[in-house]
Symmetry: D2
Subunit: 294 residues, 4 copies
Amino acid sequence: MRIGFIGLGRMGAGMAGRLLDAGHTLAVYNRTAQRAEKLRERGAVVAETPEAAARGAEVVFTMLADDPAVEHIVFAADGILAAMVNSAVHVSASTISVALARRLIAAHARAGHRFISAPVFGRPDAAAAGRLFVVAAGQDETIAFVQPLFDAIGQRTYRMGTDPSNANLVKLSGNFMLFAAIEALAESFALIRKAGVDVAAYKDLLTSSLFNAPVYHTYGDLLVSAKDEQAGFTAALAFKDVRLAIAAAESLQVPMPVASLVHDAFVTALARGYESRDQAVLGRVAAENAGVRV
Amino acid sequence: MRIGFIGLGRMGAGMAGRLLDAGHTLAVYNRTAQRAEKLRERGAVVAETPEAAARGAEVVFTMLADDPAVEHIVFAADGILAAMVNSAVHVSASTISVALARRLIAAHARAGHRFISAPVFGRPDAAAAGRLFVVAAGQDETIAFVQPLFDAIGQRTYRMGTDPSNANLVKLSGNFMLFAAIEALAESFALIRKAGVDVAAYKDLLTSSLFNAPVYHTYGDLLVSAKDEQAGFTAALAFKDVRLAIAAAESLQVPMPVASLVHDAFVTALARGYESRDQAVLGRVAAENAGVRV
Amino acid sequence: MRIGFIGLGRMGAGMAGRLLDAGHTLAVYNRTAQRAEKLRERGAVVAETPEAAARGAEVVFTMLADDPAVEHIVFAADGILAAMVNSAVHVSASTISVALARRLIAAHARAGHRFISAPVFGRPDAAAAGRLFVVAAGQDETIAFVQPLFDAIGQRTYRMGTDPSNANLVKLSGNFMLFAAIEALAESFALIRKAGVDVAAYKDLLTSSLFNAPVYHTYGDLLVSAKDEQAGFTAALAFKDVRLAIAAAESLQVPMPVASLVHDAFVTALARGYESRDQAVLGRVAAENAGVRV
Amino acid sequence: MRIGFIGLGRMGAGMAGRLLDAGHTLAVYNRTAQRAEKLRERGAVVAETPEAAARGAEVVFTMLADDPAVEHIVFAADGILAAMVNSAVHVSASTISVALARRLIAAHARAGHRFISAPVFGRPDAAAAGRLFVVAAGQDETIAFVQPLFDAIGQRTYRMGTDPSNANLVKLSGNFMLFAAIEALAESFALIRKAGVDVAAYKDLLTSSLFNAPVYHTYGDLLVSAKDEQAGFTAALAFKDVRLAIAAAESLQVPMPVASLVHDAFVTALARGYESRDQAVLGRVAAENAGVRV
């Protein structure tokens, strides 16, 4: 297929690489162009504008950091909305608000385009390996049409109905689950450390019994080592996502006290200057609150 | 070995059965004696008092519901403290407070006994199958002495140092992790349901990707079905345990806001008359708070 | 002075009436025109558009429900920004976000206008009686210029520096204090009621000793009687304001856990269909959570 | 009347002095005897034991720091329970748990004594001036009998029914209201400070408008000055009281999320070594969490 791919951060670059490997034709765009060089070497065309990446494409992927970035890429004068051909598909893989997803649905419908929300779970290494989990929602035929692309980037696609914004809600809800797990680990590690118990043994107990899941392995290790300087996913981005989850819950009138609590924990992290650290920095915040050195 | 085993609830009965299967000699005691009948048929001696169960035993297990039950069994006139022979081992497998563990340590030391805290993770079916996770702390030689018994009841033993109360803290902390996971599921399920998204598909996503762990499978299924009438572990017991976790954190001066939040969720559950339901009732409480029918 | 006054809700109508009483010339505008009739009888000119109310005015007041209303009145094609004459003063008395206040400051500065934020504390009866508390921030000379108008509507003006957005932050912070007081009353009343103690006696104790302040008298009485159907200030508006307070705190990176908790309490109120009740409905929510009839 | 008075801390000493001033005969006891010297000079007999203070008294006051102190004074071998004559009245003015109040009620009833709970609101200067607020519950005739004593120590007596433990619950609930007010001030002051707004002007606004009550004046000033080294009431004692409030709420199955949040704030204060500072230290904790210097 002819694909436009916009957003070549650590996630997007991996995904675009997988699509190239699967034999598709890619026109890629990134705000800072040098990030596109490696993909150019692998055969991608590097577009000067989002519009140029979208022009003539059957499918346009966006994989961007936040709502304002997506709004700009779609709605700006040189954005993809004006450039996409009739019945082309916009696949929005970014983690964005449910409200923006609704705007995108309406705008693409008016323009005669098709639209799929397909946010993904997984860290950059999973993106590069085509091992993401894809959460897709939208018209069945449209998803069927782009399914080969999802198969190239992910190990499995989960369908969440025909309203694309459902997938965005599910993604935000899943991220909330992740933050909640990290915060619970953070608090219990602070307790275990302050008692003088071996926190690595505690982590080993959790992750070899009831909590034998990737998220507890990954963040358990990060909290044991307190190595949060190298961010797989920064506290600033996590804070953005918990705010989007709360905004979605507000719209649906669903109280989510753990989300509010995690929100406050991330605000505290930002107040301490930890915005660029990994979201595992919640462990550091909890330890500091308990007067424990990590 | 000659073993006294006290407390034949659903967990204790399974554990005692495994010790019999392993060829040990058991004198068992339970407050309501009929619960001992099945074990009598399998070869156990049924004692009339805790004292009788403990007399002459090399090892005395206690597996009881709460602090007051353990206090009574140990310190009462017909309790085990007075009955145990010199250098016999008390293995306390109950989930009790760190403070009571400290009292037991001191009392047994004065009496010339040995003492191990060895609380367990797992539900009744795991107890019956000898598949528990045993968290043990105490003197190394003493643990080595009773290790064959742990091997009979558990699939693995985790060592948490030489201070027995460490194991109690770890158990409470692990239960906190469990409650926190259930509460996070409860909130996110309320969100997903109110949005009209298929909650079983959402659960499937979580448990086949980042949250592929026993606790999310078990409680995810319970929350999808909302089948909380049959309690594997009641809300009342869970509330007791979160209070013990908070009490331990107070002693160590560790703030645990998620624990406080879970505490309040369980108080709400009790106020709604849900004390006998499974701890998964947190899902019902969250759904009700969001105005969602389950 | 020639004054344009926009927004004739229960607060705005009282304030405009006071300005008329003080001898000023008013052109008033309200989206639903019939609310202007009483003021027409008292001598006000009723404008057809915001633009018409602002044209030729020395001072333009806005007293509107929320950010979108203010944005529309100011920035729309027939809005006040385009209509105001050079050096005219916009007095923004609405409770709006700090972010919108910043936009207004910048836009009026570019247009050569003067701008003051002057939100008010007090309920509609205080507005009608000229007994509001005015929180004003902006250039000293500008405030001095409009001070006679503040004296007509308020019993006292509090100065919060020269950056107008400070007054907006202070207003949101004061509203937060109010919500926090209501929530604390709500929880303690639920406790007192469930214990079977006379809640009126408890309220009397509080309000005649440490908590002898208007807010506790007003909301203490409302919680004793549970008369929240007649809203002086609705739960929906209160929820809007706590969100603005949280947004301001996010920008400043200040964790405010009580604000988050009040946020969740109002979301619960909305989920129960209480959006049109008085904000005192927090008392009903807390009582319901405790299983207490009110 | 012949009065035994036990507990001569800063509150108790003031109360005992007022009773002397009113012409009563006092036998006083304090664990550290030198605190009794000033009262001896004013005519009190200094007893060597609680028993000696209680023997022959018509009324025995206790004004002690916490539950263990009261338990010891009442139930110890040389305690007041054994020493009090038939139909003598024990007036328990300490802030104790509802559970202990229940034990005292039962024990005194068995012994043929009368019992009144009469905790007080006010700081030490109010105690010395006879300006306390007395919260009394118990049999009407008994309260009538001791009313002249309450008139000597307090400016007003509030009656909370015939079950003495009601007064203890009301006292704990009132203290909760106080902690909640301080925490709300703490968070809003952190916000105002970090925005660079004059916090004294903000405090002046609050306390001259909606929050014109003693508690906001007192703690508003303490938070503006951040002078929390001199404790009128320590963070450690406040933490004790919030735990008792939560325990009472647990028994009644009333969720009190603000109480849990204040609990966590005090745990954080203790973790930072602030146990001897005034409870106003919550302001310092909130400022630190926001990264604001005070």
